[in-house]
């Protein structure tokens, strides 16, 4: 599903430049649930941004579902993002003046899905995350866990190939975190490829594979015995 070879990325900071990714090689198959771990500054977020086409690498190749991602202009990147990827952010990033269902329907809007169908699909995903009753509420009227579930529903609505979650539990207490991870596991069980960036070990243990980054390099890549989040709840 994802094939990355020799990926480099550096940022200019003043006169000097900071080499963040120093040659990443990783291959992720369909249906995997991968945790990307590392301390802050290890380059995990940068990697996720490049995977999410929010940022571009300087060197190396990136192949997503057989399509090589290169020469991205903004329009092309937007279309790829819309078609291939679903994002879940630490700070939820819901649009605060739109109701839950409108937020979920937004990627479908950019996919030019007709109104009625859009609404139907959005409702379907809201039901999936267990928030059908909250469809008409604004994000400000929801709890953190609910917001993140809305965000997951939104990420799923576009039926992406890969779900990218950047610290999805970073702003949540542990109980809520496990609820969210349970949802992520359920989605993974259905066959969706998911990448989770996290620095919490218990969250990482709920994935099937852990990739450990340090100073821009992968220092460890191991399969783990997945701990079901439902055991904690």
């Amino acid at each position: 599903m994802i094939e990355i070879k020799d990926l480099h990325k550096s940022y200019a900071i003043g006169k000097s430049s900071l080499h963040v990714l120093k040659g990443i090689n990783i291959s992720i198959k369909e249906g995997e649930l991968v945790a990307i771990m590392g301390s802050s500054g290890s380059g995990k977020s940068t990697l996720l941004n490049i995977l999410g086409m929010l940022d571009v690498a300087e060197e190396g190749t990136y192949t997503l579902d057989g399509v090589e991602i290169k020469d991205l202009n903004e329009t092309k990147a937007a279309k790829y993002r819309n078609k291939f990827l679903g994002f879940v952010f630490q700070s939820f990033n819901l649009i605060n003046y739109k109701t839950a269902i409108e937020n979920v329907a937004l990627p479908l809007y950019y996919q030019k899905v007709p109104r009625k169908e859009r609404h139907k699909k959005a409702m379907q995903y809201l039901t999936k995350v267990g928030l059908a009753d909250w469809s008409g509420h604004l994000p400000s009227e929801l709890s953190g866990g609910q917001k993140q579930r809305i965000a997951i529903a939104r990420a799923l609505a576009a039926q992406p190939k890969v779900l990218l979650a950047d610290e999805p539990t970073g702003a949540l207490d542990s109980t809520t975190s496990y609820e969210v991870m349970q949802l992520i596991q359920e989605i993974n069980d259905e066959g969706k490829t998911i990448l989770v960036v996290t620095h919490e070990d218990d969250i990482a243990q709920m994935c099937k594979r852990i990739v450990l980054l340090k100073d821009g390099l992968i220092i460890e890549d191991k399969e783990v015995n997945q701990i079901r989040a439902s055991d904690h709840v």
């Binding site: 940022d55 903004e74 329009t75 993002r81 994002f87 990033n93 950019y110 109104r115 576009a158």
Partner: protein
């Protein structure tokens, strides 16, 4: 362009406008004010223009007046400072020599330009009024509006030297009781009884005359005041296609010839033409219209720039939202289109509100000034001007919207998302 007709895009726009209510209102007020000023100014200018035109419609626009003064140049054996007196014979001579003259009315007055006015008595009431001696032809030069039941001086009155008079509105009010019909009543003018044949509605026709004037037949005037063939001044109307300024020159030079005045004497014959005055006044109104156009457009531009400014701030405020949208797959052109449409939409709404409000205020001014002396009639702004202003606003709104739109897409989604 298809963008314009999609319900979804409008929903997005309404959503973001509703969310930013305060900024929307302030923005709208900026443009609304601009178009409001434009509509009110140009409507008022048009109203003044119409008002002047209405004020002058009773006076032939190609009319002029000529009167005699004192010579300032010695000529043909006469010394300087000789008083000139226009005579009735001049009328025929002028008419014969200047073919452009359509009507010519000799007039004479007692009391209007200094001198003793006529003292008038009716029953117990007395008054002092200017007495005019006139020919019926005057009504061809300056419309004489006579109230129902009355008439102006006619040829018969002149031929038979009838002692009849037309009185002014004020004269009627001062001499007669409220419900008394003055027509047919006899009033004493300088101890001679005159029958009232009409009440004249006062029309301001260029300077002198007031609402108390009394008009009697010219021939009767001559006898009553022993003025012989003397004429006070001449009222002349040229044909519609004639150049009244040229006619004025010709009239003066002919009068100089008749009365043996030096051709270069500028003071001996006075004259005044309404055409020139009217041109000047309508020029003033046109200047006002132009000024209102300039001021209006400038205010609209200022308003639209305000929209651009506020949208620019709004884009900054919404950086994160726009970042989310782009992470979810909004293309730069979709983001740009949305912001431009927001700009245009706000401009249009503001414009339409401004036009409605402006029209309302114009209507109010019109109602308030209806029964006053202010020359102000039917203040309108031509539809093409209104549409033109709207068009200018839409174009400016689009152009100004481009700035924040470009800014919105120039921010990378990653940076936008990082912003807290």
């Amino acid at each position: 362009m298809m963008l314009l007709f999609k319900r979804d895009i409008w929903q997005e726009i309404f959503g973001s406008i509703r969310k930013n209510r305060a900024r929307t209102i302030i923005t709208v007020i900026g443009v609304l004010w601009g178009i409001f000023i434009y509509i009110v100014l140009s409507g008022a200018a048009k109203g003044l223009d119409n008002g002047f035109e209405e004020r002058f419609e009773d006076v032939a626009m190609n009319s002029m007046f000529a009167w005699a003064q004192q010579t300032s140049v010695p000529y043909a054996g006469f010394k300087t400072g000789r008083s000139i007196q226009l005579k009735l014979e001049d009328v025929d001579l002028l008419k014969r020599r200047i073919p452009q003259i359509e009507f010519i009315a000799p007039r004479i007055v007692k009391g209007a330009f200094g001198g003793e006015a006529g003292s008038v008595v009716f029953g117990q009431r007395v008054g002092v009024y200017s007495i005019y001696g006139d020919y019926p032809v005057l009504s061809k030069i300056a419309t004489q509006k006579i109230y129902n039941g009355g008439r102006f001086v006619n040829e018969g009155d002149i031929a038979e030297n009838r002692k009849v008079c037309v009185i002014g509105e004020r004269t009627q009010k001062e001499l007669f009781a409220k419900d008394e019909d003055p027509i047919g009543k006899f009033i004493q003018i300088d101890k001679v009884f005159f029958r009232v044949i009409g009440v004249k509605k006062f029309e301001d026709g260029g300077g002198f005359g007031d609402d108390g004037d009394i008009t009697i037949p010219f021939s009767t005037y001559r006898k009553l005041y022993n003025t012989g063939n003397d004429v006070g001044w001449l009222a002349i109307a040229a044909y519609d296609d004639a150049d009244v300024i040229q006619v004025e020159k010709n009239v003066k030079s002919q009068l100089k010839k008749i009365h043996q005045i030096a051709p270069e004497d500028e003071r001996a014959i006075g004259s005044f033409n309404l055409g020139e005055l009217f041109t000047r006044i309508s020029g003033f109104a046109k200047g006002l219209t132009f000024l209102s156009l300039v001021v209006g457009i400038a205010t609209i531009v200022a308003g639209v720039i305000g929209i651009g400014n506020i949208l620019l701030i709004a884009v900054k405020e919404r950086t994160k939202e726009l970042g989310i949208r782009r992470a979810l797959g909004a293309t730069p052109s979709e983001v740009r289109g949305q912001i431009i449409l927001e700009s245009v939409f706000l401009t249009l709404i503001a414009g339409i509100l401004g036009i409605v409000l402006g029209a309302f205020v114009l209507k109010m001014i019109a109602v308030l000034s209806q029964d006053t002396d202010i020359p102000y009639t039917n203040p309108t702004v031509p539809i093409p001007y209104v549409l033109g202003a709207l068009f200018v606003m839409v174009v400016l709104g689009t152009l100004i919207g481009l700035i924040p739109a470009q800014r919105a897409v120039s921010i990378k989604p990653i940076d936008a998302l990082r912003e807290e």
